[in-house]
């Protein structure tokens, strides 16, 4: 490869990018805005679920129960019902998403030291949304049991009774079970993947459309010089993007990098090149910019749905897992979460790293092979 030619291509790409504000906006504005948007918007731990209360015999004990439930942050007391049927009706209508039914003998049983059942009805149609609310209520029931104040169970407490298993759960790495902690590293991967793939997928097609490619391919530039020269400046751009999003994740969402930054940057090179290579590959297939965009978006959805960004891959049927295994993002997510959240080292991530490097070589090499220096 001739260094002069390589540099000439790279410099030309940067100059053109600098003079193309919409594309620049896409490269830098989009990731920042999207991170802020998704970072705040994507919450799987539902807060302030509207709750109806039917308290058959108001007492200080029943009021305390309701207050504790609200204090979990998962519920917000929205209405007081005048009967079980009314509470249920509201639930059906969707006015409330949960209803707490406190029977008339609740306080009396408590004071007598008996088991005091109460009922919490939750609209669980959306499992993801209801899950954390159910979990919070369950925790509360156990907690009240533990408390020395003498208050008792809300739901059927599994831990009550002698001889039961005392399993203490200690959530690691994300003890607050905060969504941003989990979602922000994922967003970094999704955004890098999307913008880098799009930018190079347009790179060659645009030259073809504007007629500059014809003049370029009658020169002695080799296919690999052209491909590497086109990719090189965007590697730098990719790193700038990544750093910006990482900083934002830390400052705005309080998701610092626990592991080695150096390791993270080194492994990211493979992922960045893999996505740029994929874009180039698309641009050797597409005849115009619309087609390149279509290919890009065809690739976007599986990236979000099958990579493990939104949904755990463990829960997917085998075929979907295989599809996910064909996406570079799947492996990069392991790296992102591994290094950022768990301080994982290369020993734990070498497989993902090797696969990402393989993707990078394959896609860049594939584009070189597919690209033709003729007009046919």
């Amino acid at each position: 490869m001739n260094r002069t030619r390589l540099m000439a291509i790279a410099r030309k790409e940067l100059r053109q990018l600098r003079r193309d504000p919409p594309t620049l906006g896409m490269m830098f504005g989009v990731p920042v805005i999207q991170l802020l948007l998704f970072g705040f918007a994507i919450r799987t731990d539902v807060r302030d679920l509207p709750l109806a209360i039917y308290d058959a015999a108001p007492s200080s004990e029943s009021r305390e129960l309701a207050a504790r439930l609200e204090a979990t942050g998962n519920y917000r007391i929205a209405a007081r019902a005048n009967g079980y049927d009314e509470a249920h009706e509201w639930l059906t209508e969707g006015r409330v998403r949960a209803a707490l039914i406190i029977p008339p003998d609740y306080a009396r049983r408590l004071l007598r030291g008996e088991r005091a059942p109460a009922q919490l009805l939750i609209d669980a149609a959306d499992p993801m949304a209801s899950q954390s609310a159910i979990a919070a209520a369950g925790t509360l029931a156990l907690a009240t049991l533990d408390a020395a104040t003498g208050t008792a169970s809300l739901l059927e407490p599994a831990a009550r009774g002698r001889g039961s298993i005392d399993l203490r759960v200690r959530p690691l790495y994300n003890p607050g079970l905060r969504t941003p902690t989990y979602i922000v590293p994922g967003i970094i991967g999704v955004l890098l993947s999307l913008t880098l793939m799009l930018i190079t997928s347009l790179a060659l097609v645009r030259e073809r459309e504007r007629g500059t490619l014809e003049q370029l391919i009658v020169t002695p530039i080799t296919r690999s010089e052209l491909m590497v020269g086109k990719v090189a400046p965007y590697v730098v751009i990719g790193y700038v993007q990544m750093t910006a999003v990482l900083l934002l994740g830390w400052l705005v969402f309080d998701v610092p990098v626990r592991g080695s930054l150096t390791l993270f940057y080194v492994i990211s090179l493979a992922f960045i090149i893999a996505n740029l290579g994929l874009g180039l590959f698309f641009s050797t297939v597409a005849r115009n910019q619309q087609q390149a965009m279509m290919l890009g978006f065809m690739f976007l959805l599986p990236n979000i749905l099958l990579s493990g960004f939104m949904f755990p891959r463990e829960a997917m049927p085998e075929a979907a897992q295989w599809l996910g295994a064909a996406l570079p993002l799947t492996y990069y997510l392991e790296v992102l979460r591994g290094i950022i959240l768990r301080d994982a080292g290369l020993a734990a991530l070498w497989q993902e790293t090797a696969i990402l490097a393989g993707f990078a070589l394959l896609l860049l090499g594939g584009s070189v092979v597919r690209f033709s220096k003729t007009l046919e």
Partner: protein, 278 residues
């Protein structure tokens, strides 16, 4: 001794001499069922200023594109600057300058940036790069416009910048595809003055396609091409003389065109027969 002596009419200068720089033998090019170039054989000498004449769609551009490696011939051979277009296209690309019909430079780069880019793509660096860029700016009369975006140049300037980028590496062969299409008369004159000077300096073999017959008088030799067939080759005067009743190349052009139009029905019928499976 060369096999086909240059058209020896005293009035023409750039008939070249010495060895052949472009040699085509029975060159064919088909796009699916359409045969764009049908067996062209042509020899062009070093230093010749050679015109390829013919109406739009006659196969001129396809011929030129095969000579610089942009298209691969369907059959036949072409040797350019000593290299085979089929097997050694990259060697040819180092020695050929090509200017496409459509402006092919980067409109969002400045004049100097385009020149720098192409100089470097052709492997020039350092003092030699700078000297060649200066020479091109000088030649094209672009001094004072070097910081202007190529996209904002008018037709004549664009054309001369494109020429500058095509010859910045001092190619042995220059291929110009309808270089003066859509350019005003004054700019056309300037352009030809540059081309003539390039031919005068010697060494550069220049192949130009055009359908402006008034430009064709300046060529050392011309080739008429119609529907992919080479129908006449020779010095401009020679070609005129060979067609009784023609007083100029324009007359020849119209006569050949009329003859072709008459044959169109036959041709269409013939090609329809060839593409229909038996």
């Amino acid at each position: 001794m060369p096999t086909d002596a240059p058209a020896g009419d005293g009035g023409v200068q750039h008939t070249g001499g010495g060895e052949h720089v472009i040699v085509c033998r029975d060159l064919h090019k088909s796009f699916g069922a359409i045969e764009a170039v049908k067996g062209v054989s042509l020899d062009i000498r070093r230093g010749e200023l050679f015109g390829v004449l013919g109406p739009n769609g006659s196969g001129k551009t396809t011929l030129l594109r095969m000579l610089c490696g942009l298209l691969e011939p369907t059959s036949g051979t072409a040797i350019v600057a000593g290299y085979d277009v089929r097997r050694e296209a990259d060697r040819i690309r180092e020695r050929v300058g090509y200017m496409s019909q459509k402006f092919g430079l980067y409109e969002d780069l400045t004049v100097i940036e385009n020149l720098e880019f192409y100089a470097e793509i052709y492997g020039l660096k350092g003092a030699r790069r700078d000297a060649r860029i200066d020479a091109m700016i000088d030649m094209a009369g672009l001094a004072g416009r070097t910081r202007q975006f190529a996209g904002t140049l008018s037709g004549g300037w664009k054309q001369r910048l494109a020429l500058g980028c095509a010859i910045v590496h001092q190619p042995a062969v220059l291929l110009l595809d309808e270089p003066t299409a859509g350019v005003d008369p004054a700019s056309r004159r300037t352009f030809w003055r540059i081309i003539d000077r390039l031919a005068d300096e010697g060494g550069t073999t220049i192949l130009v396609t055009t359908h402006y017959m008034d430009e064709a008088e300046r060529f050392g030799r011309v080739a008429f091409i119609s529907f992919g067939d080479l129908i006449a080759v020779g010095g401009p005067q020679q070609v005129v003389a060979a067609h009784p009743g023609a007083a100029s190349l324009e007359d020849v052009f119209v006569m050949l065109q009329d003859a072709d139009d008459a044959g169109v029905a036959d041709r269409v019928g013939a090609s329809a027969r060839t593409v229909t499976p038996p």
